[in-house]
Symmetry: D3
């Protein structure tokens, strides 16, 4: 029986979940490993406020309990709601995408920069990096200017221009790799990488890579 990697989008936007499926399509070819991207229908349209996050944590916990068949979970929101809860409820690995994104960046470069969707999320992200213990390797975190939603952050010229501007600032700050600080930006990853000449890490892809690697090496 295949035990799927369950990728949880804690917001209610099917558009965002569909974007995750596209971002992860490369992994979906293996006969022994399934990847399933779920939308939490009762979640908010976007996980923006701290209340959204704290409610999302409980929703993530419900998904984990509802899926005893899962082989691993990935929490596909950069603020990683419910990471500790999920780990307390299951023995299979649970990955948060901020952790996986930052750590994958450090596997490729000496330091990294992060592009956030909004300035309000930056202090929250920094708390998580301190908890993870790698904040000394952060060159900086910069928010997209303008008012771009998670769902829009991976498509269109306006959001690409914002990503490029932020990425260039992070490069000047010394970043050796760029982490996309949101689950919805993957559509711009390769174009941004070409424009910046720096590795660009999509954090959901990074987390799924770790989960996939862990599972694929256990198959009989």
């Amino acid at each position: 029986m295949k035990r799927p990697i369950v990728v949880i989008n804690p917001n209610s936007s099917e558009t965002v979940t569909e974007g995750l499926r596209e971002a992860l399509a490369g992994f979906m070819h293996h006969p022994g490993i399934a990847i399933e991207c779920l939308t939490i229908a009762e979640g908010p349209p976007g996980v923006i406020t701290q209340r959204h996050l704290d409610e999302a944590a409980l929703n993530v916990g419900k998904v984990v309990e509802a899926r005893p068949d899962a082989g691993a979970f990935v929490i596909a929101c950069y603020s990683q709601p419910g990471l500790d809860l999920a780990r307390s409820l299951t023995k299979v690995p649970v990955y948060g995408i901020q952790d996986a994104g930052a750590l994958t960046a450090l596997a490729a470069a000496d330091s990294f920069g992060v592009i956030a969707v909004s300035p309000a999320s930056i202090p929250r992200h920094l708390r998580t990096l301190r908890r993870l213990g790698v904040e000394q390797r952060l060159a900086g975190e910069v928010a997209l200017s303008g008012n771009i939603s998670v769902a829009d952050s991976g498509h269109g010229e306006e959001s690409f221009a914002g990503l490029l501007e932020a990425g260039e600032e992070l490069k000047r700050m010394g970043a050796g790799a760029i982490v996309l600080g949101c689950a919805g930006m993957s559509g711009h990853r390769q174009r941004l990488e070409a424009a910046l000449s720096l590795p660009v890490i999509d954090p959901t892809q990074a987390a799924v890579a770790v989960a996939f690697g862990d599972m694929v090496t256990r198959l009989p």
Copy 2:
């Protein structure tokens, strides 16, 4: 054209390279991605001394120059000889297995312990962790007792008993995950994980997972 992930074993032991192939077999099913494990024939039977490492660095550099077709390189020796050199010679990603192993452990747990083949390598590993910036999350590093070679470290009851003893000590020291501190121990990974009830990370598998994830998400 497939651009392979080239996994470099800097010692001359085909047995070790064959062990890498086994450890990585799970990744070798994708029609678009090849994984190639190379032995450096002119390397020493085992990379043990600092001289071995410094010579291995240049050998790794030669491989990188000889393989402009590669899509990524993994340096499959825990001391990561030639990591900086390889990165200076190619634009494709180069991963060291110590870095990838430690970072993958931190994606799954709050702290990690490392099992080294010999005590002499521990100070060297600590220098690398300081350079990477995550030494604060190291619960400890413990060497196998007895005199076990890299090639033998992944097979047989004697080496398993050593791994188990070291792993239990690291668990008492607070490790939330165990990194196998050598490219040859993967054969014992799952058994050790079951015995310790802790995630056990094989560093070569961890590095290839990152490389695989990076490449598979770029395929058209």
Copy 3:
């Protein structure tokens, strides 16, 4: 109008809340400042699991919204559920008792030790200390042996013996002050201090001291 310091006990145990009132009695004399200790009736009898904490966060948020009259909030659970949420919902100061306890210890001594009610809470506490940025000054954290509840941890000979044993171990580990790692241990504070010849910090008292000082210096 007096704006009270609202001290939130996120568990449903009135015994624990009554213990908080006793621990804070010294502050309750000022004509201009009220201190109110609330029990969250819908909370669990004890906040023990990660799910308890994540549910408690939302409960704490409800209290904060229900009390626009408050001058400050103190979250009287060592794991500080809802700290970020509460801060996002109000402009008045919100203090977590782990933060306040650790910081108050450092105002009096070079390093501190923490006595936890149970070993399971230690990794959680360490994550919070890393986030706060003072984990380097932690001499150690030790759990009470035996199976003592939060409500019992501040009364009786059995729990005192446990606190003394843990405190002596922390003193040997180099702690210059001891933080009681739970909201219910204050009953033993002075006796433990005398026995150890070290400052012993009750974290709820520490947090209320900061809140009280902040408010009392603003009175007209």
Copy 4:
């Protein structure tokens, strides 16, 4: 018998001591706790040079020895002269205001900024923060422009304008709270807080809050 909190102003300026009394008036209502602010008459008019500090240390030591009745001491100079000496001479708690100010800021916010009276004192303050172990949470320290004395730093439009300018710069640097880096600035605290929309910490108030909280919870 009441054991007072003895607040030591190590300079000879009665104006500064009077300012301390005003800043601390809120605490002076409790029937069981006295707060006494002392001027060291043989001190310099302002503690500015390193020699002033080293002489102040011995003067502080004399006060500590002369006051065996004290329940706690607060050294009301941001450079904390005599902190180690005082602690070696008494068993009652001794608080330095830089330590207490920084730690209290961290109980309320993720990071803090400091406003110094003069640029010359900044390296000295940074050494103290490193010793305390929280320099990583410092967003920055900025000196008042112009030539404003300690005694003048808490009164008048000129010094307020300077504080505001410095505070705004610290806010841009990411400070989540502002610590007044001198014992004489408290007069501007609330006005600055309103102007900046950030918590502003007077360090003497912060230290007395900790001392008061410690004592008030020991009263029978």
Copy 5:
């Protein structure tokens, strides 16, 4: 005109000063550089308490002012009394022996251990290491057992036995070099080094080496 390196012994023991002269004899051959070891006659017989240190600071300041001819100063007491004061009074370099000893150890090894004369001085030394910023490289600090004075710590079998015991413990703790944590132990340096097979650093020699090197490279 020769500008001497003035080595200040802040205690009144001529025996200790004579020991410094012996320890530094090797430097005293250069026609252009003089090394002068001074006893502070009004100092205590040994600098042991914090009061001794704070008084010593002012005495060191007096020496610095009395010697405008000096080319450099070395404060030959491991707790470095008066380091900041001396630096504020002169433009020539001032070196503290704890700083120089620790830093010289790190020029030779990955980590270091310190042997203290008495346990009471260890917390003081740790504060200085934190201020210097290298406490992460400290493997440990261990005090001589027994009751050995500074003057006796460099001579006789009893003190050697104590140094050896402490050194062996530090070696087990992972120290790659040993710093003698007192100005009086140099007489045992070479014997201890032979017994431990580790570099042993006398901190006064280390500080004078830095001062000597700085001056000798400026001679015309």
Copy 6:
């Protein structure tokens, strides 16, 4: 028999080696200690690329093996090629000039800045500082503008102007001392120090001072 301090210039430029001899002339007066500066003839004209460094490591190892008479080795290239190898091949001390330069700066000042010859070497230097454990005390590292070679960096008005510009920037960044980030800049040391009013450290002089001090205190 005199056991010389062997100073190894890993590039083939006799001009650079001659510059080392001049920089070290002050040490060459002692009847019991010889200082010998060697050029590695088979090295590259300048050690610039990572390949140069990795080849230089092996060349340094050969020198160490060829000189069993040496009393100490100094690797006179700021990137310290072969430091670990040399230490594995000999029992006498081996010093790298980056380590010695940074540590000597910290013996004189709270923080330091580094002037690099080229921007490309800065990430490499930062990795070494992290490994050494003192990167927190780095105020910044700035490269010479223009295209100045190692051999030219210590002579002429153009390179002095570049050093001055970089030094002034580092002073604004808070550096309390400046380290010349290359073995060839010593010719400008004293002039730069006068212009900046800050201590300027030549790293080769710093390393030789430590080696000289170690040896001169062992002479009979």
